[in-house]
């Protein structure tokens, strides 16, 4: 705090730049250490870390196809990252992105087959439905917290498995197609989100929906009364309560809006990438969203950047496995180490000194699970 006061004479621009720089300290330290550990692993496995990382970077951004693959991977992570970030701003941990994605995906797989005859007009209808079902699914842990005090970390974990089983039941039961691949029927080509083209491979306009979602969440959080209330509840529940804000209502809304984002992400994956929901469906989008949000410090711009990094790592790892003998799974290890380090206040304090604690604010929820 005292640091900030001392700097108050500076221009707005310089302060903003310093804030952005400060925000990057934790992520950059985490990323750097992760890559060092990764290099040691590669070395231990008898490969050349420089060659591995060169092919990793080439696979992420080295060609239009590589960039396309990165963007394709990043698209769903923007949604699941936002799902975590919105809830986080209200002081809540949404670990339920995984299940919320499945709810959105099964909604899209079901509705898009029914209204597919509408062609391109079906897309907004289906995506809106995904937003609604994701919102409702997200409202459940919000309600359980507001009404019964059940901690959202535990309830969202439980709801993940319930959602995955529910979606699996529908995809393999009532909605199952005749084909040999287990899953729902294929959606008509005209009702799918079209590809962008430009030599970027399978990247589709779902990417634009993702960027739009990030913009909407930014405006919602920082330019509307609802957003102000959500952030006030997150920063100081006591003060927000004193100011007459309903903590319960804002709790429910924050996780529900997060659920709507992840649900939309599930819908975009089905309409843009797969054209149906096959079982097993793509996994870990929700869990990786947690890392994306924290790396992006729960800010929509940061979420987009975090999603690009995660998407790039996943994309680059494919190339790396192909070009060298290093298994693809190295990217998961790198992401895990980044996630492990990105909230480690004390560790960063050892490196850059006491300023770390001030920089860490906005990435921590230390209220505990007991109350």
């Amino acid at each position: 705090m005292s640091e900030e006061r001392r700097d108050s004479g500076d221009s707005f621009l310089r302060k903003s730049l310093r804030d952005a720089g400060g925000a990057l300290v934790f992520p950059l330290i985490a990323i750097f250490i992760a890559f060092v550990i990764g290099a040691l692993l590669v070395l231990a496995s008898g490969n050349n870390p420089v060659a591995a990382y060169v092919s990793l970077i080439q696979g992420a951004v080295g060609s239009p196809t590589a960039i396309g693959r990165t963007l394709l991977n990043a698209t769903p992570l923007v949604f699941t990252g936002l799902a975590v970030a919105v809830a986080f701003r209200a002081g809540l941990f949404n670990i339920g992105g995984e299940g919320q994605v499945f709810i959105g995906a099964i909604t899209a797989a079901w509705l898009a087959v029914s209204v597919g005859f509408l062609g391109i007009a079906a897309i907004p209808i289906v995506l809106l439905a995904c937003v609604v079902t994701g919102f409702i699914w997200g409202a459940i842990p919000g309600f359980l917290k507001a009404r019964f005090g059940a901690h959202e970390v535990i309830t969202t974990i439980m709801l993940n498995f319930i959602a995955i089983n529910l979606a699996t039941y529908f995809a393999l039961g009532p909605l199952r197609s005749e084909g040999i691949v287990p899953g729902t029927e294929t959606i008509e080509a005209a009702a799918r989100i079209p590809a962008i083209g430009l030599g970027l491979g399978r990247v589709n306009y779902g990417l634009a929906v993702a960027v739009l979602a990030a913009v909407v969440i930014y405006f919602l959080l920082w330019r509307t009364k609802l957003g102000f209330r959500i952030r006030a509840v997150g920063l100081s529940p006591g003060a927000a309560n004193y100011a007459g804000m309903r903590i319960g209502t804002n709790t429910v809304l924050a996780i529900a809006i997060g659920g709507a984002m992840a649900g939309l992400g599930g819908g975009v994956e089905v309409l843009g990438v797969y054209g149906k929901m096959s079982i097993p469906f793509v996994s870990n989008l929700g869990f990786n969203g947690i890392g994306v949000a924290l790396l992006g410090r729960n800010h929509p711009v940061g979420v987009v950047l975090g999603a690009l990094l995660f998407g790039g790592l996943a994309s680059g790892a494919q190339e790396m496995q192909f070009a060298t003998d290093v298994p693809l799974d190295l990217s998961d290890v790198l992401l895990a180490v980044i996630l492990l380090l990105v909230t480690a206040t004390k560790l960063v304090e050892l490196i850059i000194g006491k300023r770390a604690r001030a920089l860490a604010s906005g990435t921590r929820l230390d209220e505990g699970l007991g109350n």
Partner: protein
Amino acid sequence: MEELFGNFGQLLSSTIRNATPLIFAALGGMFSERSGVVNIGLEGLMLISAFAGVVGAFLSGSALVGLGTAMAAGLAFALIHAVMTITFEADQIISGTAINLLALGGTGFLMVEVFGSGGTSPNVQGFSAVRIPLLADIPLLGPALFNQSLLVYLMYALVPTTYFVLFKTPFGLRLRGTGESPEAVDTAGVNVFRMRYYGVALSGILAALGGAYLSMGILSAFTENMTNGRGFIALAALIFGRWHPVGAAGAALLFGFAQAFTFQAPQDVVPLEFLQMLPYVLTLIVLAGFGGRAIAPAAVGKPYRKE
């Protein structure tokens, strides 16, 4: 009549087999959470130790050595969680999530490095069933309860042991105090950081027993992501059992029964997916019924900072 009892015996035996890894992991999670450290990394701890156990048994040809390497790996990963959350004050939920991802990616990476390809490892020496004379002759229950792997008997012993350690020893009192009111036990001269390290370390060792039972008790090979959510079911059992060893074991048995039932029940009666949801739905109901706030250790999830 005989067929009914035969099926019952099979169902019971399968319930025990399904519940055993859950009980190990839930008891482990209990030590961690009772000391004030949330451990949603149980899934990852089980997975890495299931793998390490198979590697140890593969290289040595001995199941016991495998059990040792499994416990060492579980301990090592738990210590990562401990260092990050207790010493470096990283967020406990995030660190747990990272442990899960690290185990998933790490085992995928090491499968290729150790066995040359992903998927499933070669078969290794596991813990086969050991029949306990006399006890196994008890009608109905005997064959189901006392013709199991050594690890199952270890589980039988661990439930009362955990109860005793937590509630009847000075160590247990300090551990619980650390999770409920770290400031108070610190004032009383207990080293909060050390108690939390013990709690998390025990969670790694116990979860490792669960992982080893999966890859060397039920199967005798490692398959990628073979835990398949069991760490989270164990977490559910821990909460459902209200952070009490007997309660958690009871909940794990109930969830194990639900799993056993899914294999035996005719599919057209209740869809498989609905049976698989059961543990999670029950846990939600319990959380809503009792209110999460009343039962969890008071300081769980909060880093402790000595002023």
